[in-house]
Assembly symmetry: D2
């Protein structure tokens, strides 16, 4: 039964005892997170089926009680009882599954990016629009309580007009070279989150980009044709200026901070720490360590992102992160890559 009818029955007919039925495609690292989070919604959500190419992922789903496990995505997509599809498979299969699900009239939650090719992304989005199905793109950081609180303070006018935004994202260590080679490059793979966050918080479009890339971490990454450090300046249509710094390595854990400076004040998001323990001795006071990586830092955001997807579906509201958002972030990334290549500021269309 399509999600809209089901939502209507819930909302208007008072038939609230009917759960939304879900199919998950891809039970890898991120698919497992979403599957576990689905279980905490057990009163509203049934995970009816899970697809994974390899047996281990299918076993995982079975052990968690998913009734239907398969290695054939089209089985899930065609299943008439399934209302929504979560696409958590490898990046190069996202667009295909999204298109199939859209044609089948399912609501779609898709891990980013939709595709590494801007053209393909535009085609897929056009099809989704044509089919009239809701699509949420998984920019999970938007749902992190700290970033969401910042957005709320900005939207409430508390901060006044935004003058500048500063984002720092530094990973604790680089991913495997094999990953880097298929990633589309650091700007498309890692900075993409910051491009989206900058647009989201500033609430305007980027009109110009200047970027510098460098290899400060690893010769291997250089040989693989990618950078491991970037410093980027964005100019927005409303005059705000953002800087983004990314690095593939730190000695001190995951480092992701934001600062927004407005005419009325300043918002900062600092790194949460593992423990709230302080140790004082002759050298000073030692605070807790940073969290290891995004799986710890953003555990809560994954839960809230999925809840937002289900809530928007049920209430028939627009998605909090759309395919269009994914497209815009990719366009900025593409402009930044040209800026590095040509060492000049690049204007966006």
């Amino acid at each position: 039964m399509p999600f809209i009818q089901k939502a209507k029955k819930r909302l208007f007919l008072g038939q609230t005892n009917e759960n939304m039925n879900i199919g998950i495609i891809g039970i890898g690292r991120i698919g497992k997170i979403h599957l576990q989070n689905c279980l905490t919604h057990f009163r509203e959500i049934n995970v009816l089926g899970a697809m994974n190419p390899s047996q281990s992922g299918r076993n995982y789903a079975s052990q968690l009680g998913v009734p239907m496990v398969t290695n054939d995505a089209s089985e899930l997509i065609a299943h008439t009882d399934i209302d929504a599809i979560l696409v958590c498979s490898a990046t190069d299969s996202h667009a295909t599954y999204v298109e199939q699900a859209a044609k089948a009239g399912k609501a779609i939650f898709c891990e980013k990016p939709l595709d590494l090719s801007l053209d393909r992304v535009r085609q897929t989005l056009a099809l989704v629009e044509e089919c009239g199905v809701p699509l949420m793109l998984a920019f999970n950081q938007r749902f992190d309580p700290s970033f969401a609180e910042a957005k709320q303070l900005i939207d409430s006018g508390e901060l006044g007009s935004i003058r500048s935004l500063r984002l720092i994202s530094r990973d604790p260590g680089p991913p495997p070279l094999s990953y880097i080679k298929r990633s589309g490059g650091m700007l498309m793979d890692m900075t993409i989150h910051d491009f989206d966050m900058a647009r989201y918080q500033v609430g305007a479009e980027v009109v110009e980009v200047y970027a510098r890339g460098a290899n400060l971490v690893s010769d291997e990454i250089k040989e693989a044709g990618d950078i491991d450090f970037a410093s980027i300046m964005l100019t927005f249509s409303n005059g705000a200026i953002a800087t983004i710094e990314n690095c593939r390595e730190t000695s001190y854990g995951y480092d992701q901070r934001m600062e927004v400076f407005g005419s009325n004040g300043m918002i900062r998001i600092e790194n949460p720490v593992k423990t709230s323990t302080l140790l004082s001795g002759p050298l000073g006071t030692l605070e807790g360590k940073n969290l290891d990586f995004f799986m710890d830092r953003y555990a809560e955001s994954y839960r809230l992102e999925l809840a937002a997807f289900f809530e928007a579906l049920t209430a028939g509201k627009p998605m909090a992160a759309t395919g269009y958002d994914g497209l815009k972030a990719m366009e900025i990334a593409e402009a930044a890559m040209r800026s590095i290549a040509q060492n000049r500021p690049v204007r966006l269309a």
Copy 2:
């Protein structure tokens, strides 16, 4: 099959594919937490059965896939496939279920306190010892990562000899009067955690207590015969001096902090906050709010406490918090109540 044989099969015979089977008695607020946390151990733990007097708790367990639900605890305790019993029912039933489970040869995890009567606690512990079954008493705060880190720093000698320990526990608001009347009093209900934590961190026994109680929050609590504020000084056998402050109300959320001062340095545990967002304006910089209450603050500790129980069972190791620990904390609470009544320091036997 008794847990010891099962653990042996796992450890020595390599038969690691056999799960531990669990029965939960009581699916109220804390029972639901433990049940959900059991599910995250789905590879090692089966929740075979759940008992709850009312239907709603039994429905909750069913929806989460627990195969056997009942309103009769003895069914679970008698079930031969069940290896361990989690006692999460009302306080006045703890001792009875623990005794039944001990006689049935089950491993036991029991919410604190075992009973409000020191005599009954001693009797029950004697029976548990006689039966030779493992018993963990749920002092969950010991498993909180910050408190655990402090304990580790102390045990490693990093802090030197302990000179003083300071604990502050202030609840955001008082519980219902009906709860307070059955609670055994603030010292037995709330400070009990601090008495245990002080013993745990200092690693010595309390030899003398001086306490003052007061009614600074609510006249109703006074009329119910309880205090809502306490300030307590403990002297330990190793010379360390601890102070504990408790209050049933704050205007700023849950407040639970510790400070341990040693010859080599100082450890402090501060309150974690809801977000790592800072807002700067003309009045200064506003940090995030405290967490609301123990359910948020100690969510992680509940997970880790249960993991420690299962790990100790499997490895045949001693429990990290025992019935004896519960007894000692109650003895301190009882001495503190006498100190308040008589306004003098009271020595412990």
Copy 3:
């Protein structure tokens, strides 16, 4: 010319160009601080004379341009052009100089304590009152911007009714044994600041004291008949309960903090640090070191304390810290010493 006439001329006759003339008795460690701070008031204050028993102190004063230097305090006290006397000499001479200055009609600023004997303090205060001269007792910590801000928040009602106050004062290391032997004991020498601060912040009188003393730092201090650690509980007439902890040694610099918990919120004063530099690495983030000792921590308070003395004189207002305040703090100290000796709570008259 007596200070009152001079103040009147300033305030009412508009003759504001006439400076207050000052004499300083004692150019030791604290006298040098006050002398230098007088110089920053060079537009309103003339230091006309300085007395010191030894040549080096007199040389110091001469180099800073003090016109009259002497080893005879009565010369300064008798000098008709001197309006106010700062008593910065050894403790056992305070009462004598204060009495002489009072008889000579001078305004008096005196380092604490007035005397180690409660009886002598009472006699001296009676004489000062009889002579009708203003006397400020140098409880400098009251003028520290952080402690003053706390007092202001409390007096404004922002904090609501005070439930508890917590003071920690830990020195970086013990003073010389020779000093300890003449000090009147840790409670009279060191805790006296905390007793005054507790009274000052709570705004009520102490009605009962319970104290424990210990020797946790040094055997030599024990042999000298003093303690080096104390934990104290104070009950105030308004129901607030304070705890004070003092220690003569830390591994991590000067540690002096306060916490005031009220029905509307909580104020904390944390230790200021040497630099605002943070260093992040694999072990976590290292904050700056604590300040070394009170000379750094309270440099600003000494400036503001002297300014408050001059301002009160000029405006004819009451002193912000009086001889009575000194007396009350000593009475609490005396009660705390009895509490330790008898291991029981002691009520104040």
Copy 4:
């Protein structure tokens, strides 16, 4: 007597009782600070004379005991007993006084900038070098304890190789328009400190600049032909990349922070606050306010800067901030202005 001979007599002949004699040109805001700080060096430094065009400044110096006051700078410069000249007058007179003092063989301490014209700066520096006199340019922030500690950590290798440096300088409010019009522009007047700090901390030269300027604060500043916001990216010869953000206004006091990210860790310098008081209530915890402006924030740096000048003179060591440093900072500022004008990265010679 020239400073070198005097220093030699001190160092090698043991004649340490002879003070350095100083003349100060300009007793305005900054001249008063330096004059007061000279007084705290009263054992090693005599302020022999002070020049100021207006009477009020001369009175100030007289009241503080300076024996010779004049409105004629050449009197001081020609005085044979004066060893060193502090140039604290209006910017457009700096170069002239420095040249006169150099010809007279005096050691020179000069407020920045030497001149607004790069050509004139180069000429003056050439003359100073020819005359062989020591010249310190007053980049006071280098002597701030926090920034000095960062430099030390970097130089010690603790931070590893520097990857990026981030500087934020935001003034609490813009200076008067009359000042802005004579200032040489925000980049030359305000960012100049950051350009120097970036060079100082990174320990390498800037090879390329990209800058964006904007008017986000005040239309009047725009009409006066200046910007009030700038975002700048610097590339250094060693590959490090720095970003600088400047703004002429905040709602929350003076904001000046630095972050240095290296292969081994990260250093941050945060804003010091007025008090170490924290206030917790329903909205969260309010930390202290930022300091008002540079006079508070850098009071200590002015003291230490002057001490460093005297120490270098006495020891015959090189100055910690030279005319060359001033020249390099101006060259970067000039390149940044061209970058804004042409919206392209600009390489430095």
